[in-house]
């Protein structure tokens, strides 16, 4: 019996992987080696450097496991080694791929004189050890290869260094740290003197792992080796082979180490080493040697297969030769192998162990089992054989990131029983295709599976019925199905059945509403973004108008009930535009929406929620269904596929539809005819950015605080200035009044803003009869035909309120606000609905007369200059501000004339300005109310006088109280001025006093207070423990009662103080010294001098006067000078702030008096 193995042999080279140290200097490992483009690249770099300079170089070759790095090292070793069989073999291999490279290597040998001896080859495979150990082993092997043993020093200068290094390395003495880098460098240099030194370290990653996991690692040796080769004209070539870049080995190390290694890697030229799938496939083709007797059959098989592959879209495999090269592999198997190996295995190593390994599932064993009959179709190894090796053989032990999918599929097929051969083949093929990837041409599609098995349809259906595979119609792909008790199709069909009874609108209501759209042309032409919200609707609906405060400028109804008419609209009035789109066909939308909703519904079933297998399957179906729905939505509501109407009270007006949102633009054109043009995108919008809100806040504050200044006092080019220019300046709302040269707010000149302004004026006028909520004004401005953007309104409304400040009153939460202040404006912007306004202008007849009289009596002027006469608000504003300035005493006391008390009551409780002025206040002051519709009011002047008098009583009340208190105190003290009292009290300051009087005495003695009023306030406060401004009448009474007691106690203390002094030290004089200044203010001191010290003091004074007389020339002048200077000093210490200006002339009087 003939098997395939008899006619197809596998190259021995691929049977095992290479080991650098073992295979060096041997021909066998090179047998069958394929020099790939990558290998040529590396060898070429080496050869080019060796021929172009006398220095060396350093390369780090980085490639994945099993990509043939070690084999490459063997090739390099052979090519640059000594003359002989191995070098010839290596050069032949290289020459077959690149003759130029072969010549270059020979040239290198010639240049360096190594034609016979070859380069010094220091080759080692690293293990987890310090770099120095590996390098030493490599250098040692080079010495042995060259000299047979370590030569004496006479022949090899570095012999001693090498011996020392070897003994260091083998020593158990912990104090020895292993071979020193210096010694190793010396050996390397010495070797390189005789011939170029080529250091090759395979598995260099092991060294790096050792370093990254130990503390005392030092990358410096490596750097030195690399530098030794590069700069110093010494031909040292270093080649390291590893599967990650240096840095990746130190991913978990600290920053410092990381940087250190990045630095070392910088010394090396990094060469990535990995073959592309196409290159890998090229390798596969070289593995098999096929007996010539088969060629004919292969050709016929290949030509049929190539056509099939072409149909599948696999261009690479669509030629007969390409397919034939794959034999004995099925071209599909060859196509997926590179991807499969790199994803789940160790690249070429896995690939070649499959192709040439000894495993029972590997190719050689399969070939040996495969019988070959002359008549039957040529047997080939297909996807199912690949599956057997990779999954059943569990070759890919650690499939890594893709592991879960791998296990899922493996488990699934392992648990399947009783399948026929064809079923197995198909199931396994599907499995392996699923693993490689679902997208692209190589997927388990119906057509592709037709190449795997003959007439697979029935078998596939059977597999599907068994629940082993599932077909995804949307992707034309079969999937291995992990199995679930639930049948996805039934679930979705069940959901569809329930949905079928629902009208389409209800199905659509389950999805998110379509996003709003912009009427593009209209927005661009009018500098204002018009956004239309979209929703599904039916003709039976009675459409409600949009709220003026809605965030959108209009609504687009997408009609979904196949009726060819528009819905009716309820009381449209000045509502924002509502457009209806009637699609010509709803079929696609209906089908896709119901399908999508069915999947959604299925996903929400309780049994599905707990079944992740079904859930993930439905999840993928959902994504597909969403795409389909989206496409259907777009085509259904395409402008050309719909009829468009603007809904009005009078019925539906057809709109011309062009491209895009032309119909919406047409609707906006018709609706927003009086829209203002605001040339600032930052403010002309519905909601501001935080930056914009800040700028608008600054603008509003400027409007309120600096209305009369040019440009509101703004300078520069900030956003608030840009807003000012766009909304207020260019429109003419804020401009310089030519009459009085001050800026003010008034009706705009810009015709586009005029309708908005007039609307506002209408609203103000409307508020003559009753208060109007500010939101009504907002609504009027936001509604068509104006449609002002919400963020602009506060600016325009504030301009209006300021322009009509004397006519329009503002109320917050129902309370009259006499002034539009920045903080009020902040609240107004935030909550317009909390505010109301009312118009008070154009008062005539009797009321006009009263206002004029009041304005004259109270000296009230209108707040804005364009108003020639004051009106209700100006008068009331004045009254309210006066009342607000009153202290609590005045607000509470009964010590006021009766009229003032009643006027106060009226002012404090007033809510409505006109009510106050024309009814409450006249009543309080004993006048008749002022009627609105009479011509004259005879008592107008008397009334105004009375108001003025009452106001004066109120504002003067507190001052009068303090004056009274002051007089009362002086009277009680029997003194005529504050100074005298302060002087008496100051004398007690350093005495030990009872805490009860202490504060009182301190208050009396307080000189730092600048005037009588402050002084008496402090005293009154100390007496009553309450500031006079907070007094009630009871506090006043208490003061009147308690103060005399305090003064009496104070007088007793003064007397006691004097007596005590006298008792203590014999005769005692008390002197009162008063210094009076030019302005009449005084400083007084009581000075006590007892007899015992008097004599001594007088002696000192006499001496001083004697000395002074010598200077001044006369006794009398000396007396005066002393007095003047002393007085000046007293003044300067007593009144430090005035002392500097005091002169002798100001010292008018010095009084001396003895106190009894």
């Amino acid at each position: 019996m003939t098997t395939l193995a008899d006619l197809v042999s596998v190259s021995a080279r691929f049977a095992r992987s290479a080991n650098l140290e073992r295979d060096v200097s041997s021909v066998d490992p090179l047998d069958g080696y394929i020099v790939t483009a990558r290998a040529v690249d590396v060898v070429d770099r080496l050869a080019t450097r060796a021929t172009s300079s006398t220095a060396g170089g350093a390369w780090s070759i980085t490639g994945p496991y099993g990509s043939g790095k070690s084999s490459l090292a063997l090739l390099i070793d052979g090519a640059f080694g000594e003359e002989g069989e191995v070098r010839d073999k290596a050069l032949d291999l290289i020459g077959s791929a690149s003759p130029d490279l072969r010549a270059k290597i020979l040239n290198a040998h010639k240049l360096h004189g190594t034609g016979q001896s070859g380069f010094c080859l220091a080759v080692a495979t690293a293990s987890r050890e310090p770099i120095s150990h590996t390098v030493l082993r490599a250098l040692h092997s080079a010495v042995i290869r060259r000299f047979g043993r370590i030569p004496p020093r006479t022949k090899f200068k570095a012999a001693q260094a090498l011996t020392d290094a070897l003994s260091d390395q083998s020593s158990d003495d912990p104090r020895r740290t292993g071979p020193s880098p210096a010694a190793l460098l010396a050996v390397a240099r010495c070797l390189a003197e005789s011939a170029p030194l080529l250091i090759v370290i395979d598995e260099f990653g092991k060294n790096l792992e050792a370093i990254s996991s130990s503390v005392d690692s030092d990358p410096y040796l490596l750097q030195q080796l690399a530098e030794a080769g590069q700069g110093s004209e010494i031909p040292i070539f270093t080649l390291t082979l590893q599967h990650l870049s240096f840095e990746d080995y130190f991913a978990t190390a600290g920053n410092l180490e990381h940087r250190e290694w990045a630095k070392v890697q910088g010394r090396f030229e990094d060469v990535p080493f990995a073959d592309s799938p196409a290159e890998t496939r090229a390798l596969i083709e070289t593995v098999f040697e096929v007996d010539d007797s088969l060629c004919e059959r292969i050709d016929s098989w290949a030509s049929g297969m190539a056509t099939a592959m072409g149909k599948l879209g696999l261009e690479d495999l669509s030629t007969r030769d390409a397919v034939a090269d794959c034999f004995p592999l099925h071209p599909l198997a060859a196509a997926i192998l590179p991807e499969l190996c790199s994803r789940y295995g160790q690249n070429e190593r896995t690939l070649f162990s499959f192709l040439a390994g000894s495993d029972a599932a590997a190719v050689p064993a399969v070939l040996a089992r495969q019988e070959l009959a002359d008549t039957e179709p040529l047997p080939v190894l297909g996807l199912s054989e690949v599956y057997d090796y990779f999954i059943e053989g569990e070759i890919a032990g650690s499939p890594g990131v893709n592991g879960s999918r791998w296990r899922e599929i493996a488990t699934c097929l392992r648990d399947a029983h009783g399948l026929s051969a064809q079923e197995w083949t198909l199931a396994k093929s599907i499995a392996i295709l699923n693993l490689v990837g679902a997208s692209g041409t190589i997927r388990a599609s119906k057509t592709l599976l037709g190449q795997v098995a003959k007439r697979p349809t029935t078998t596939l259906r059977k597999l599907e019925q068994r629940g082993l595979i599932t077909y995804r119609s949307f992707a034309d792909e079969y999937r291995i199905w992990q199995g679930s008790d639930l049948d996805v199709r039934t679930l979705v069909e069940g959901a569809s059945a329930t949905l079928a009874k629902l009208p389409l609108i209800e199905v659509l209501s389950r999805f998110d509403s379509p996003t709003p759209v912009i009427a593009a042309r209209h927005s661009a032409e009018h500098d204002t973004l018009r956004v239309f919200g979209r929703r599904y609707a039916t003709t039976s609906e009675v459409v409600k108008p949009l709220s003026p405060f809605s965030e959108v400028d209009g609504e687009l109804l997408l009609l979904v009930d196949s009726e060819s008419r528009c819905p009716a609209i309820a009381e449209a009035g000045l509502s924002k535009p509502i457009v209806a789109a009637l699609p010509t066909s709803l079929t696609a939308l209906d089908t896709s929406a119901r399908n999508l909703a069915a999947i959604h519904q299925a996903l929400e079933l309780p049994e599905v929620i707990n079944d992740w297998v079904v859930r993930s399957e439905l999840g993928e179906q959902l994504a597909q269904a969403e795409t389909l729905f989206h496409e259907a939505f777009i085509s259904t509501f395409d402008p050309q596929n719909c009829a468009w109407f603007l809904l009005t009270e009078d019925g539906a007006e057809p709109l011309t539809s062009g491209r895009g949102t032309a119909a919406l633009s047409a609707a906006a054109d018709r609706t927003y005819q009086s829209a203002p043009r605001v040339g600032n995108e930052m403010i002309n919008r519905t909601a501001l950015t935080s930056q914009g809100a800040k700028a608008r806040g600054m603008l509003l504050t400027g409007m309120i605080e600096r209305a009369s200044e040019v440009d509101l006092g703004f300078e520069g080019y900030g956003p608030e200035v840009a807003m000012y220019r766009a909304v207020l300046e260019r429109t003419g709302i804020h401009q310089v009044d030519s009459q009085n040269d001050a800026s003010a707010f008034s009706r705009p000149k810009d015709p586009s803003l005029l309708p908005a302004w007039k609307t506002m004026e209408d609203e103000f006028r409307r508020s003559r009869k009753r208060r109007v909520n500010l939101n009504d004004l907002y609504a009027a401005l936001m509604s068509p035909p104006i449609g002002m953007k919400a963020a602009v309104i506060p600016v325009v409304a504030t301009a209006g309120l300021l322009a009509f400040a004397d006519d329009v009153a503002i109320y917050e939460h129902g309370t009259f606000k006499p002034l539009l202040s920045p903080e009020l404006s902040e609240r107004m912007v935030r909550n317009p609905s909390h505010f109301e306004f009312k118009h008070f202008a154009n008062t005539t007849g009797a009321r006009r007369q009263v206002i004029d009289e009041l304005a004259a009596r109270l000296e009230v002027r209108p707040s804005f200059r364009q108003h020639r006469v004051a009106n209700v608000l100006a008068i009331v504003g004045h009254l309210v501000s006066q009342v607000n300035g009153l202290d609590n005493y005045t607000l509470r006391t009964g010590n006021l004339p009766e009229t003032a008390t009643k006027a106060r009551e009226a002012l404090v409780t007033a809510v409505e300005p006109d009510e106050l002025l024309f009814t409450a206040l006249p009543k309080a002051l004993g006048f008749r109310p002022v009627p609105a519709n009479t011509k004259t009011y005879t008592k107008a002047r008397d009334y105004a006088d009375s108001v003025g008098k009452a106001l004066e009583d109120l504002t003067g009340c507190f001052g009068n109280l303090l004056g009274d208190l002051y007089d009362l105190l002086l009277e009680e003290c029997c003194e005529s001025s504050r100074t005298a009292v302060v002087g008496q009290a100051a004398a007690l300051e350093n005495e030990v006093l009872d805490p009860n009087v202490r504060a009182f005495v301190f208050a009396l003695a307080n000189e730092s207070l600048h005037n009588d009023i402050d002084w008496i306030k402090a005293i009154a406060m100390v007496v009553t423990e309450k500031a006079p401004a907070e007094w009630t009448d009871d506090d006043l009474a208490r003061f009147q009662r308690v103060m005399p007691e305090h003064i009496a106690a104070f007088h007793r203390l003064v007397a006691l103080h004097a007596e005590r002094r006298a008792d203590g030290g014999g005769p005692f004089d008390a002197l009162r010294v008063t210094v009076t200044q030019a302005d009449g203010s005084e400083l007084a001191r009581l000075v006590g001098i007892d007899q015992s010290s008097r004599q001594m003091l007088e002696q000192v004074l006499d001496d001083a006067l004697d000395k002074l007389s010598e200077v001044t020339g006369s006794q009398r002048r000396a007396d005066h000078a002393l007095l003047a200077l002393l007085g000046e000093r007293m003044l300067s210490t007593g009144r430090s702030e005035e002392g500097a200006g005091t002169t002798e002339a100001e010292l008018q009087q010095v009084e001396e008096a003895q106190i009894a």
Partner: protein
């Protein structure tokens, strides 16, 4: 020409800052006094400030008199301030102060006493403001503060009879017993606090028909006092007072002859240990 350095002294309405103001009256004649007015202080505080102004013979600058709590409550559309969202301190204390000072070089005098030198007051992080601690420098302790106030004849703010700290009448750092104190002494203010709370609760959908889910619950406080509404708190009046009295008795037995001010502080501190807002309380 070097810029004029401003000297500023903040007054909270409490005893320490008031004593410091009096203490520095003659020492730093160019002193500017300020008070961050929330518009919601206790009447006792306003009354006390007027007293202090009389003694200082200078007006105390009222910062943000125009934008008090009511203003910000409108602006924040009914979110109560809370320890997690203390917009009150930020908008009514820190911002107005920093705005008032501007970029002028200034020395700020802080009323930390020598016996509490470790306490943290509001020390501005602005580079142009230098902080000084005169009580710490001059070793003035609690007794010293009381003496300064007594000598000046202004005494203590009246709220010390039932509350330990100055600040808004509805301060959320208030202890339960202090809320009862407010209800007893200022029923009108208590009712206003209840009204504010009720408005917030209603806006948030409690007892109302607003969509509760739409109100961002994160970091928002819906009641002034933890865990209950003011109405519920007032219903527990007797229980709270009982506990409070018991605590006073306990303190009295462990530390005899303590002035009421201090024993109250001790007791209320026992009640909870939340760190009060130093900006307001100092």
């Amino acid at each position: 020409m070097p810029e004029e350095i401003r000297h500023i002294c903040g007054i909270s309405g409490g005893k320490d800052s008031s004593a410091l103001a009096v203490y520095l009256k003659d020492r730093v004649p160019e002193m500017e006094y300020f008070f961050c007015d929330t518009g919601a202080e206790l009447p006792e505080t306003y009354e006390f400030l007027t007293r202090l102004e009389v003694i200082l013979a200078k007006p105390i600058a009222r910062l943000n008199a125009d934008r008090g709590f009511d203003h910000w409550f409108e602006i924040f559309r009914g979110a109560l301030p809370s320890p997690q969202m203390r917009w009150c301190t930020k908008n009514m204390k820190i911002k107005p102060l920093e705005q008032w000072i501007g970029d002028d070089p200034a020395i700020s005098y802080v009323a930390i006493r020598s016996d509490e030198a470790n306490r943290k007051g509001y020390v501005s992080t602005k580079p142009n403001i230098e902080s000084r601690f005169p009580f710490v420098e001059d070793s003035i302790d609690h007794a010293g503060v009381m003496r300064i106030l007594d000598d000046a004849g202004i005494g203590l703010p009246a709220y010390y009879e039932w509350r330990t700290r100055s600040g808004c009448y509805f301060c959320f750092y208030q202890r339960k017993a202090e809320w009862i104190g407010l209800a007893d002494r200022h029923p009108d203010l208590f009712e206003r606090a209840v009204a504010i709370e009720q408005k917030v609760l209603q806006d948030a959908g409690v007892d109302g028909d607003a969509d509760f889910g739409k109100q961002a619950m994160k970091g928002r406080q819906y009641t002034w006092s933890g865990g209950e509404t003011l109405v519920q708190l007032r219903a527990r009046r007797d229980e709270i007072l009982e506990r409070h009295e018991a605590a006073i008795a306990r303190t009295a037995s462990t530390r005899p002859n303590l002035p009421l001010v201090d024993s109250l502080a001790d007791v209320l501190n026992e009640d909870d240990d939340t760190t009060p807002c130093t900006v307001c309380a100092l």
